[in-house]
Structures are given as C-alpha cells and as structure tokens.
Symmetry: C2
Subunit: 500 residues, 2 copies
C-alpha cells in the first residue's frame, strides 16, 4: 500500500492556492474567482459543521443549478461528507426512497423545494433550507487537506428501467480520472470556459464542476437549458466547450439560423446516444466541432469519445475509450470479434466501485474489474465503438433484435423530422413491434403513411415502425436524454384523447 | 486494494490505438507516427525477448538521443523489464558501478559505445549493440497490455555529491502523475510539439518521451543541444514547448539576436536553478513565455513551476507545487513560517518510492510519505517557492550560511557576465569562503577587481567572493546543470597552468 498515490490535495483549496484570481464561475453576470469559491465553500463548511455535519456523514442535496449549490457541494467535500445528488424533478416518494436507501442523515435544500422538504423531514433526517442560514461568524470547521481517491465523494441514483433505482458510488478517484481522461482527449487551453446548462445533480453537470477545479477553468452556469441564452453566451462570452445531447443541439442549431459560432468555440461534447447524420451534416456546414461521446453515471461521465477528425468518417460512432479506460464487447460469455454486437464491457479508474448496499447487483455488474454496462454495441475493425442501444430498450420482434436508435436514425434523416423516438409495443403475433414518435419541424407537413414509406426505403420490414405518431415533444430526463420507456405513455394519452 | 485504480493501459499501445496517424517523433527530418512508434517498439520487444529479456529483468540502456533508443526503451516497457538509464558521459567504472548496483542482467547499447561495452561485458551481464540486430522476423513476444502504476519503470542514478550514487526508483505511476501534473499546469493544445535536446537518460529528457505518448503530442528530437539548430526548429517546425536550463537559454538568446520566436511557441520550461533577472528581462522584451521550474530525479521531473503571469513579480521563484503535489519547508524539525529558509520537503504521486537496495538512505529521505530533498529554500507569504541552493552546495563561512545561487544571481546582473558559478573553498580563518567563476561575454572586458567591487554593491562582505576567476566555460552535467563541485578543479587547473 503506497500512501502517496492514494491522496491528492483538496481540489478546490489547491486550485485556490495555484490560481486564486482566475474566474471559476459565472452566473447571471456575477462572477467568482477560485479564491472566492474556496472562501464561500469554507464558510459553508463552517456553517454546516456547526449544524452537525461531519466526516463520514451522508448528506442529500436537493438544489438547482445555482452558485450556492456549488459552494455547498464543495463545503460537503471539505467536511468529508458523502453527497447524494437528488434530481429535483423527482416525486416526493422517489426522493424519500433515495434518502432512505442511501442512509442519508441530512438533507440540504432551498426554499423552492420547501414542500418536498416538508414531506421528507422525519426523525432521522435533519433538513435545512439554504435560506435558513443567516450571514454569521461560524467557528471554523476542520476541513480536509487531502482527498482520498478511494473514498466515495458522491452517490447518484440510476433511473434503472427494471427494479428499484440503485445508488452509484462515485469516488474522488472516479471523478479525478474522468477529468484526466477528458483532458488528455480534449486538451486544455488557458482560456477554456465550459458552459454548463445540464443539471449539476446529473453526472454530465457534476463532471463539469469537477473539471473546473481540477483544470482551473471558468464555468458559465445556466439554471436551465435555453437555446437562445446558450447561443448568446457562445457568441459573446468566450465559451469554448459545452456538453449537450441531441435534442439540445437540435434546438441550438434551429435558433442559430444562418450564423456561425466564433472560432474560439472548440468543442461541442455530444452525449446521450447516437446522433443523426443530418444533424452532424448541419454541424459540419457550420464548422461546429462535434465530439460524440458515450458514458453513464457508473463511469463518472464520458468513457468513450469520438474526436471531430472522425466525426463524419465514423458516423454514428461514439469513438474510442479515453486514455485510462478500456473496452470490449462480450457475446455469449466471450470477447466478440469486430462488427459483432454484444454487451459493452468497460474498465478504468473512472468506473464506479459499485452500488450502495447492493452486493448482488454490484457483483453482477462488476466482474474482475470490468463493468457490464447493459448496453449493446459493437467495435469496428479499427476499434471504434458503435452503441446500438441500452439493452433495456432492445425490441425483440419475432426473435429478431431491433435497436430503436437505428430506426430513430433513419427517421431523423427525413427533412421534416425534428426528432424521433422509438419503442417496442406488445404484439400478439411478433411479441413486440416498433412504434415511432415523431416531432415535426412543420406541423401536418407529412402523414403517418409518408413516414412509414420513408422508413421502408432504408429498413428491413420487421424494423419498419408499425405506427408513426406525431407528438409535440418527446419525454426526456433532466439531462435531456430520451426516455424511451415513457413513450408508451404518450400513446396511452393519445388514445385517451381519441376516446374523449 | 482496488484493482482498477492501479493499472492503466500500456501507454504507447493505447496511444497508437487512439491516434495512430499523428506524428509522434521527428529526428533529422525522419518522422514516425504513433503507429510507427508502436510497431517499432513491438518489433524490438520481439527481438529482445528472443535474446532472453523478460518480465522482471533489469536492463541497462546506454544510448544517445536517437529514435532507436526510444523504440528500445518502449520495447523494454512492453516486456515488463526495468530500465537503468545510463549517462553516456560516465567513465567505464561509473557505468560498471551502476550496472552492478542495480543488478542489471542485460545491457543494450550501440556501436559508438562499443569500447565501454567491451569493458563492461562480464559473465552475469549480457550485452548487445543495437547494430547487432539484423532485420528479421522475430517470433512475437508477449507484451504488457497494462502498466501497473506501482511497478518500477526506470532507475536513474543521482550524481550524489557525497557518498556513492543511488539508484532512484521511478514507477510508471511516478511518470504518469508527473505528466498529469504538468498538463494541468501547462495545458495541452492539439498541435503541441516538444523540442527535446536534453539527454533522454536524464529525467528532463525521459519525461518528454513519457508526456509525448500520454498526451499524444509530437517530439522533435535532437541528438545534442545546439542553439542554432534549436532556434531554427523553433522558427520553422511549429515547436510549442522546449525544456532548457539557464545556460542553454543564454546561448539561444545570443544566437537569436534581434529576432523573436513565433507566437505558436508557448512555453520555455526553465529548470536547473534560479534564473538571473537579466535573462528574464531579455525574455520579457522578446515576449518569450518562461516557466521556471524546480524538480529532480526523485520527483520524476518538475514538481514546482512558476507560470509566466508571475515570472517578473516573483522573480527568482520556482513557483508553486503542481496539482497533485504538496510542499513545505522544514526547519529544526518543524514547519517553517513564511520567508524562513529550511529544507524543502515534498510529497506527491510523482515522488519516488525510494532508492534501489538502499534501505537506510530511503528511510532517511522518505518519512511518512514526505520526501526530504536536501535542498534549501523558503516559501513566501503567498506560497511561492524560492530555492536557495542544493544543501550540498551550501557554503558555511564564519558560521554564516552562504547560498552560491545568490552570489551567482548578482554576478549575472553585470552586463559583461555571460554566466557565473560559485563554490566554497577551504579557508584557515573562516572555514570556507566563496570563490566565483565567470564566463564573460567579451574577453578581458573587466578585471577581477571590477567584479569584486560590483559584488560589494549588492552583497554583505562575507558573501562577496574572495576571488573571481575568468574561465572559458563552466562545468555542467548532461542536462547542462552547473556542477559546482567541479569548479574546484578549474582552480586547480589554473594553478597548474600558472606553475607550468
């Protein structure tokens, strides 16, 4: 056991010593240097310590994208508490489940969630709203000088399509190595600024906060995604990198119109599933450097990324595993050859050490240091990963595997299709059949029959959607990721409406 | 014990998969992609394996700055052998000592060192010249897919001013973290190119090779330092970073004349001791971004670096410890307050785990994860490190501590002084007194008395050199670092000449 390899200096504190005056964070035209950020975190640490939070405690954080949330998050790291990042869109019962399941003894939240907090308060759980802390001289708290890379920093629950949500343990080491893997791929410029419009309770947002203090770069934070505000900031605020998913990028491009982003904007980090060709073509025309990525809560954000030099040649690929990570495809218990689809298996220091209090699920997912993602994909001859689908989204129709993403890709090529989602529906003959849900760029521009005919040009008949339904929008989660399992509800709602 | 945090994929192999076509290395207008580099390393691994080198073996490498040396070095990593990097300027007896001391069982060298190799060959040590390997179809060797970060990759002997040289163990983790610490400070641009004119058998050169494969950047390699060739390449070859010491930078600036380097050149990484103000002024006038650094074999290169934004404000400082590292000053067994000089103590994952087969020296140098550098310095109020001297170079005169670097700094301010070295000489009255050795820009432009008078303007009388001797050049080691202990010999030689 080497002592020195397991710890690194407290990130924000170290950063505030190295580059105290650099801007760390901008929000609604307020800005905070790294020294400000450290000093706010320190004050919050003192306040929270006074309220009884100490090393080893588990603390839920139910808070929006706001500087205070970032101060509090760092303060909790300073104290050595584990933070459960709670999705603010969850129902009270979902929140209650996660707080109970993670053995959280504290909850920190804010006024706008006071109803939920009221519901969640109970004997064992002590809850505070940030607004309850009046400015005061708190006695100084003991803060960590070093972070142990093996210690759990955060817990995030995965939505889990089957069974109950599981708490993914993310260590300081996971976050550290994720940031390092990213920098070795994307590079690091002195003036880098990462625009964060994704929720900080998701790994896509949290990982931006981690990178900021590790790299010493500025974040511009938005409380939610708004394509107009995003484009304005890219145009005027020296943004160099942004994390998006397809739906966000679509909206940004529509809003952008004929304009182009400045040259300094160097990375459109695109996650959340394969991107349609038409979208990538649009980006190419506008000289937007798209980096497609693949990652999940269990890998502490991106683990596979496609650099722009390959974005057209390797269309639809998520790229190659970042420097410290490895990947292979498993089929029938063996390593699959090139171009054969199977389960995506990954390894690396950014991969979770397991699920909290879920020995069985952890053992199933983590074998000999390899993590079984449950996702389906293949590697081509050159080792580029193509993600076909979340395994749970797989449609099995008459014994054939159908990957929703493939059908969505075809639909997205249609000039009037803004976005599309596909899911399986029960069918007495085939077991399941694919149904498509489409958002059009212009209402009533095409018919269901047109769309089915269009698909038949590109897809085997068993893959052609049996129905195409036009909807005003697709169900998405907090990171704007398509929720295929929610599509079914849209159909039910439509049938309801028809019956009314 | 976490399995996944201790290993990373074989660096060059991984790099050759990620960016196969990027240029890795240029030498005399030959260039090699990362795929070429991997394929050469692979071939060499097969050849060396056929000759009996296998995992766990210790292999001496006595070779110049040449692509073959790099192929062979990586090949040895591929096989899992530890590499003892031998300084080609050493005498046969010095080489013999290091090979014996490190328990090396093989020696790989080249034709130009055949005399030394002849001398070193003995029963236990099997020696090969690279020229002996004729092109051939070697059966494929088993190569490492992963590097264990705790494993020793290289052994380098420190010159050690007292006692016998000690073999510094450098693990893969040491090299990895050193590269990461550097990238978090210097950033990483896609077109970065590091000019390597320092010997690859020194940590200054070896660390460039490591960064190249970890970052995926191009190296331009020179077989030795020549200021004309260096300036030509900076001007014409897209060099962005170079590692130098003061003497090299002096020569580069003289040769450069009134020209300026291109804007793309972004980092003059300056190690090997404090830089004189006049030199930094010159660099400022020419818009050369100087990063002063402090580091040693035991820290796998730089551990403290000053960014250019501080290069004038914090003149003479080596800066702050890189991200994963920590530092403090110890005085009388306690942490010294700001501005108090004492021993520099460092910690970090880039720090050696000890000296090979030297339990006593290792225990003395490494205590609770902290490494006692033996160097003297202080931290100012803002935490910037000022290195005063190697402890072994300290002059004690009438009970007062005199730091040669301080006197050298004063001498270097004189307009006719090109460079200066100071060391202590025995004195019956004071114990020791400082003697200065000066290289002038113009011969006979000043007298010894002039120089002493100049020093008296800036220095306490006990610090003023008792003698100033003019010499054509200063003794330096393979990394162009001043060898103060060799200065004495210059005086002896001069006295010899006088007596002739």
């Amino acid at each position: 056991m080497m002592i020195h390899a397991e710890c690194v200096p407290n990130w924000l504190k170290k950063r505030s010593e190295l580059t105290p005056d650099r801007i760390a964070l901008e929000f609604n035209d307020h800005s905070y240097s790294f020294l400000d950020l450290h000093s706010r975190a320190n004050t919050w640490a003192s306040a929270l310590y006074k309220k009884g939070i100490k090393k080893g405690d588990t603390v839920g954080l139910l808070a929006g994208n706001h500087p205070d949330s970032i101060f509090i998050l760092h303060a909790l790291f300073y104290l050595g508490a584990r933070v459960v990042l709670l999705n603010s869109r969850m129902t009270e019962n979902e929140l209650k489940f996660q707080l109970d399941d993670s053995d959280a003894s504290f909850l920190i939240s804010e006024q706008k969630f006071k109803d939920q907090v009221q519901f969640l308060k109970k004997n064992r759980l002590i809850a505070y709203l940030k607004e309850d802390f009046k400015e005061s001289d708190w006695p100084e708290a003991p803060i960590l000088d070093e972070f142990d890379l093996e210690e759990t920093a955060t817990i995030m629950y995965t939505s889990g399509t089957t069974g109950k949500p599981k708490g993914v343990l993310q260590t300081f080491g996971n976050h550290w190595w994720s940031a390092i893997g990213s920098v070795l791929n994307l590079g690091l410029h002195e003036k880098d600024t990462w625009l964060c419009t994704v929720p900080i309770f998701h790994i896509s947002g949290l990982s931006i906060l981690m990178r900021s203090v590790i790299y010493g770069i500025r974040i511009v934070l938005h409380d939610s995604f708004n394509e107009k505000k995003v484009n304005d900031d890219i145009m005027n605020k020296g943004i160099t990198i942004i994390s998006v998913v397809t739906a966000m990028l679509n909206r940004m491009l529509s809003e952008l119109g004929s304009q182009e982003y400045p040259n300094a904007f160097r990375c459109m980090l695109l996650g959340g599933g394969p991107a349609p060709k038409s979208l990538l073509d649009d980006c190419k025309v506008k000289n937007i450097p798209v980096y497609q990525t693949y990652g999940m809560t269990e890998t502490s954000s991106q683990i596979v990324t496609l650099s722009p030099e390959y974005s057209m040649d390797k269309l639809g690929s998520a790229g190659k595993p970042l420097f410290p990570s490895e990947i292979y495809i498993e089929l029938d218990g063996k390593k699959a050859p090139a171009n054969q689809a199977g389960e995506i298996v990954v390894k690396g220091p950014n991969v979770t050490k397991g699920y909290y209090n879920r020995t069985r699920e952890t053992k199933k997912a983590l074998q000999n240091g390899w993590f079984y993602t449950g996702d389906i994909g293949y590697l081509d001859e050159e080792g580029f990963l193509f993600v076909l689908d979340r395994r749970s989204d797989l449609i099995i129709s008459g014994g054939e595997n159908i990957y929703p993403a493939e059908i969505e890709g075809v639909l997205s090529r249609h000039p009037y299709v803004f976005e599309a989602g596909v899911t399986g529906f029960p069918d007495s003959k085939w077991g399941q059949v694919p149904y498509a849900f489409v958002v059009l760029t212009h209402e009533n521009s095409v018919t269901e029959a047109d769309m089915i005919e269009f698909c038949q040009m590109f897809l085997a008949s068993y893959k052609t959607p049996k129905r195409v339904l036009f909807v005003p929008e697709l169900p998405r989660n907090g990171s704007n990721k398509l929720l295929r399992r929610e599509l079914r509800k849209l159909l039910e709602e439509e049938q309801q409406t028809d019956e009314d």
